[in-house]
C-alpha cells in the first residue's frame, strides 16, 4: 500500500483519526482522506502529512463469534427492520464502489473489533500501523474474513510482515488493550460520538467521511494559519 507520509520541508500536519474496523464510512473516509492528501501533497511547498489511527468501538457488545449476517445484526441488536437494513447496505455498497472499494455484505462476518484494535496498536509499535489498518478493513469489508478471532487476526498480521507467533502472544495477553482504552478515553474527552473523526494538529476537528476536496481545503487552512502564527511570532 501507499505510504502516506510525504516528504516536505515544513513541519508536518498531524492527523489523528478515530475509527473502527466495522465502520463502512471509516473505510470510505480513509480512501477520501488518502485522495485528499495526494492532491494536497501535489501542491509545491506543502507540509508533509502524518496519520495516526486511534481505536473506537462502535459496537463493543458484539460477540466475538456473532452468528448471522449484517442484516441480522442490525435487526436484532439495533432494532432496524430487515428491509431497511438491506436498503442501507445497498446504498453504502454503492458509495464504496465510487471510491474503488468492493464491499461484500453477503460474505461479511460481523465481529467484535477490540482485538483488531489491539493488533493495530501492535502494528504501530512495529511501524506498520497504516498497513494493518488497511489490511483489516479490506479483510472485513471485501474478503469476508473474520477480524474478531486471534488466529484470524494473526494470519492477517503475517500477511503484512508481522511475526505471527508474537502477534498471537500479544493479543492473547492483551498487551495493547490499555492503549485501546486510552484511545477511547481520549475520544470521550473530545466528545467524539461518531466515526470517522479527524483531529488535525490537535486543534481542528473534522467529522465524517469527507470528500477529498474538503481535506485539501482544511489542510490549506491549517497551513495558512500556521504561517500567520509564525509571522506574528517573528
Amino acid at each position: 500500500m501507499t505510504d502516506l507520509q510525504t516528504s516536505a520541508v515544513p513541519a508536518s500536519i498531524k492527523i489523528d483519526v478515530w475509527s473502527d474496523i466495522a465502520c463502512p464510512w471509516c473505510y470510505i473516509g480513509k480512501r477520501k482522506l488518502e485522495a485528499g492528501i495526494e492532491a494536497y501533497s501535489a501542491q509545491p511547498g506543502t507540509p508533509a502529512v502524518e496519520i495516526e489511527y486511534h481505536s473506537f468501538e462502535l459496537s463493543p457488545d458484539t460477540p466475538v463469534d456473532f452468528e448471522g449476517d449484517e442484516v441480522d445484526f442490525l435487526r436484532n441488536h439495533k432494532g432496524i427492520s430487515a428491509e431497511q437494513a438491506r436498503e442501507m447496505l445497498q446504498r453504502v455498497t454503492g458509495i464504496a464502489e465510487d471510491v474503488g472499494l468492493h464491499y461484500d455484505y453477503d460474505a461479511l462476518q460481523h465481529a467484535n473489533t477490540v482485538k483488531a484494535h489491539e493488533l493495530i496498536h501492535y502494528a504501530k509499535s512495529k511501524g506498520l500501523q497504516l498497513q494493518a489498518k488497511d489490511r483489516l478493513l479490506k479483510a472485513y469489508f471485501e474478503e469476508g474474513r473474520n477480524v474478531g478471532r486471534i488466529d484470524d487476526l494473526a494470519d492477517l498480521a503475517a500477511e503484512i510482515g508481522l511475526e505471527r507467533d508474537d502477534v498471537v502472544r500479544s493479543l492473547e495477553s492483551g498487551e495493547y488493550l490499555a492503549a485501546v482504552r486510552a484511545d477511547q478515553r481520549q475520544a470521550r474527552e473530545y466528545g467524539i460520538q461518531g466515526v470517522p473523526f479527524f483531529v488535525i494538529d490537535g486543534k481542528y476537528g473534522v467529522s465524517g467521511a469527507q470528500d477529498a476536496a474538503t481535506f485539501v481545503d482544511v489542510f490549506g487552512q491549517v497551513a495558512s494559519e500556521r504561517e500567520t502564527a509564525d509571522a506574528a511570532q517573528a
Binding site: I28, V92, K203, V206, T214, V218
Partner: protein, 53 residues
C-alpha cells in the same frame, strides 16, 4: 450501515470544562454512531467550537 446522502455545515458548539476543545472545520460528513451508520446528516461530534462563517 447507512450513508448520509448530504453533508451539512458544522455549526454546533459544545464545551465541557477541562475537556480539549476542537475547532470544527468543514461540513459534517457521514458517520457511524453506536453501530449504525445513518443516511441522515449527523450533527458534528467533538468538543467543538463552530467555525466562524
Amino acid at each position: 450501515m447507512t450513508p448520509a446522502s448530504e453533508s451539512m455545515t458544522s455549526t454546533e458548539a459544545t464545551a465541557v470544562p477541562d475537556a480539549p476543545t476542537l475547532r470544527m472545520v468543514g461540513p459534517s460528513g457521514a458517520v457511524c454512531v453506536d453501530g449504525v451508520c445513518s443516511i441522515e446528516p449527523v450533527a458534528p461530534s467533538g468538543q467543538a467550537e463552530a467555525e466562524p462563517s
